[in-house]
């Protein structure tokens, strides 16, 4: 055995593929529940609580990133009715798709974006723990890296079907899962 292959063996991840899949499924479903549970307080049609958090996040003392705050002030707050509905629909979809494990890698990236946006809005507000938002974002990265819908998710059921079909949608779904 060459020293290179010995090193590769020594440095191989300790988890088996099966265990990694199961851990990924647990993380995916738990994060899906996180989104599901947090749609509770985003209430149409006024979205008062969401608006309050978003507005507070634009104060200079708690702003995490200037350009993001500028966009929130100029684009989001003046159109909050539309923004509120978009957030609700996005988070409802994140919960549903991550729990189902359908198109998981795509939804993990969408979740990463949404977690980053939430973090930039609220991470430095009083009573918040900034690292929570870093962890939230990284959980989505882990779901993406583990392709966590391929164990205990609909991706596992559907990938063999998508693989057999040569349609564009099937090819897209293979990449998204």
């Amino acid at each position: 055995m060459t020293s290179e292959s010995q090193n590769a063996q020594l440095n191989a991840p300790p988890m088996s593929t099966k265990l990694a899949g199961r851990v990924g499924a647990i993380v995916r479903i738990t994060i899906g529940c996180l989104w599901l549970a947090n749609t509770e307080w985003k209430i149409p049609t006024s979205f008062n609580a969401l608006k309050s958090f978003t507005t507070n996040g634009t104060a200079s003392a708690v702003s995490a990133f200037g350009p993001y705050t500028y966009i929130v002030k100029k684009l989001v707050l003046p159109n909050f009715g539309l923004f509120g509905w978009l957030v609700l629909l996005l988070e409802v979809s994140l919960g549903a798709f991550l729990i189902l494990g359908l198109g998981t890698r795509l939804w993990a990236l969408i979740g990463l974006g949404q977690a980053t946006a939430i973090g930039l809005s609220v991470m430095f507000q009083p009573g918040e723990w900034p690292w929570a938002y870093v962890m939230m974002a990284l959980c989505h990265l882990a779901i993406f890296a583990l392709a966590a819908g391929r164990t205990g998710g609909l991706d596992a059921v559907l990938r063999p079907l998508w693989n057999r079909r040569s349609t564009k949608v099937s090819q897209l779904m293979m990449r998204a899962s």
């Binding site: 989104w35 985003k42 049609t45 979205f47 609580a49 063999p160």
Partner: protein
Amino acid sequence: MNPSQRFGRAAGCVAGVVGITSALTLLNDGYLGAHNRFPFFLSYKVLSTKGALIAIAIALLAVVGVIIGQRLLVAASAVGFAVVAAIVLFTWRETAGQPGSNPLDNALGAGGPALCMFLGAAIGLGVLSWADHVS
């Protein structure tokens, strides 16, 4: 029946049972879970009694479809869940979310989590019945 089909049917049964059990626990307009005991992180108001009864009826359709092997019933249940999700979205009243008002002021008394479950059930059951059809 291949492993994918077996998995699909088992997942359908589990989803149906979970849906019905969740809805039954809420017939008294109570909360799923409680803030001070497990699973506190899933504590939320799900549905009004009327909404829960409708969810039970639609979920039963899927469970019966899985048991007797009628794909069309599962597909019908998926359509039913999609319809109730749309009803919730389009019947949220202007007063909802205002201080002192009923936050779940829509036709089924559903909050975001119930909407999420309806969407998940509609997509999940729909996709599983499609997979059963094409495989």
